[in-house]
């Protein structure tokens, strides 16, 4: 659909899924290959792709041809990143209240969060913040009515149907359940993030002692 003469959006009615992601990444690849010089940027969300065109005519032409284009489907990557996370109360200050609200023991809550594998859909919110899909339904939790003033960098949190990692210190409305010592965004590197949309991520619990060591020497994330 056209929003402005230069801005358009492709929308899907389904909920976020691997299937939808592979379609979206296919469209993004196609645009990168065929329309790169005609676009200022392409932005991805869970159920849409926004395209900012350099000129109105480019959008009109795309709109007229859109139905005849055979977009490729991208096979989602089998790369799995493993992210160490310390789920101790010192780092996960909302862990206790969340466990009570969910009527779960701390251990089963941590297990539920860490046993799952999450798909990286796109980056947004803050530089290096990954939107992940795959949080077990039992852990879905409404965002806080009043956001915390600051959340530590690397904090692992739950908000709505999402889990995510704050790449830098920021105000935050999600429930913090742990913290990772990994660096998620580094402007000195090109690209400044290490993961790509379509890859997966797992959280690996570590204890407080190891966390203290790793905070002093932040580790790189590792592939499973």
């Amino acid at each position: 659909m056209e929003i402005t003469p230069w801005l358009g959006e492709l929308q899907w009615e389904h909920s976020p899924s691997d299937e939808l992601l592979s379609q979206q990444l296919g469209v993004i690849d196609w645009l990168e290959e065929h329309e790169k010089e005609h676009t200022d940027t392409v932005r991805q969300g869970f159920t849409s792709i926004a395209i900012l065109w350099k000129e109105q005519g480019f959008q009109t032409r795309f709109k007229n041809h859109y139905k005849t284009i055979k977009f490729p489907r991208v096979q989602l990557s089998d790369r799995i990143w493993q992210i160490p996370v310390c789920y101790e109360p010192e780092y996960g200050k909302d862990l206790g209240s969340l466990a009570v609200a969910k009527r779960l023991s701390l251990n089963s809550l941590i297990k539920l969060h860490a046993e799952n594998r999450y798909r990286i859909h796109f980056f947004g919110f803050l530089p290096g913040f990954m939107y992940l899909n795959g949080l077990p339904e039992l852990l879905h939790t409404p965002r806080k009515p009043f956001p915390d003033r600051t959340v530590d960098p690397g904090s692992v949190a739950i908000g709505g149907a999402q889990t995510g990692i704050y790449p830098r210190e920021s105000p935050g409305g999600w429930h913090t359940i742990g913290r990772s010592p990994v660096i998620f965004f580094n402007i000195e590197k090109d690209p400044p993030v290490w993961a790509k949309a379509g890859e997966s991520l797992e959280f690996v619990p570590i204890d407080g002692e190891e966390m203290n060591k790793l905070l002093k020497q932040p580790p790189s994330p590792y592939l499973k």
Binding site: E2, D40, G45, F123, G124, Y131, F185, I187
Partner: protein, 289 residues
């Protein structure tokens, strides 16, 4: 003729002074905000006066009380908000083009109308380039804002002196308009008829919660919109929260958001909004795409 890099020393500033250019639009894929001048109409105008390319970096000033000293001759141009400008303590009548001598001092005083002053310099300010842009942003550039004092480089230029044949006059009346022209956003269709007509006829006041990330409006608009999956947003996207707050996203806004996107401002409307102060009135008027 050879040019050398000279230094502009900001010896005093209120909060919110930064270097801005066209921003880094294509880095949203890493979650990096667009950034860039909030009022691009004014910044383009100063660059045009100086014969600069349109990506030349300018100083964006959002509070009175800026003082800047130049170590070498150059030419500067000031537009945007209408403000008092002093050169070595003397009021400058028309700041469209101001020849600068070494050690000259400029001060931006009280703002008469408007909210953001743009100070452009011949060839643009040469702060650090990060991901294709000099626009300040926390953890992308070395500084998020100039605080109290700061330094920034520029190319000296003695030869522009004496070429002041015709000096254009900056007309600020365009931003006194209360209408913000908008296109309908991707989630507009989810609103009921009553809410739609209210949004297109009511007057709204700019709240004090207004900065480079976004402008919040004082009045709330009740709605029954569902929570939506996170999707792309841009500078000028208007969001309606479940609590009824209206937020108009600015240049430093995040690149995706979960609130319903009801409007998209035209480029001119974005520049008009950038010159509005808290308490001022705006109305949305529909443009047909």
């Amino acid at each position: 003729m050879s040019k050398t890099l000279a230094t502009a020393h900001i010896f005093k500033t209120g909060p919110g002074t930064s270097i801005q250019d066209l921003g880094r639009m294509d880095y949203g894929k890493y979650g990096i905000p667009t950034s860039g001048c909030m009022d691009s109409k004014s910044s383009q105008w100063v660059n045009l006066q100086l014969n600069n390319p349109n990506d030349a970096a300018v100083l964006e000033i959002s509070q009175p009380g800026l003082g800047i000293r130049f170590s070498a001759p150059t030419m500067v141009s000031i537009a945007g908000a209408q403000a008092q400008v002093l050169q070595n303590g003397k009021e400058v009548g028309n700041p469209s083009l101001i020849p600068i001598m070494a050690k000259d001092q400029l001060e931006i005083g009280q703002f008469i109308t408007g909210a953001r002053v743009y100070l452009g310099i011949k060839y643009g300010f040469k702060s650090q380039l990060e991901l294709g842009s000099r626009s300040f942003f926390k953890e992308i550039t070395p500084l998020p804002y100039f605080s109290k004092e700061g330094k920034v480089s520029f190319w000296d230029e003695a030869s522009t002196l004496g070429v002041l044949h015709s000096k254009a006059k900056w007309d600020h009346r365009w931003f006194e308009k209360e209408e913000l022209e908008v296109y309908l956003g991707p989630d507009w269709r989810l609103l009921d008829q009553e809410t739609k007509s209210h949004l297109l006829t009511a007057s709204f006041h700019i709240s004090p919660l207004t900065n480079r990330m976004g402008a919040q409006l004082l009045e709330t608009v009740e709605n029954k919109l569902p929570e939506l999956p996170t999707n792309p947003v841009f500078p000028g996207t208007v969001q309606l929260t479940s609590g009824g707050k209206i937020i108009i996203l600015g240049q430093d806004a995040q690149v995706t958001g979960g609130y319903p996107r009801i409007f998209q401002l035209s480029d001119l409307a974005l520049s008009i909004l950038a010159q509005k102060k808290p308490g001022q009135v705006v109305r949305f008027s529909k443009l047909v795409c």
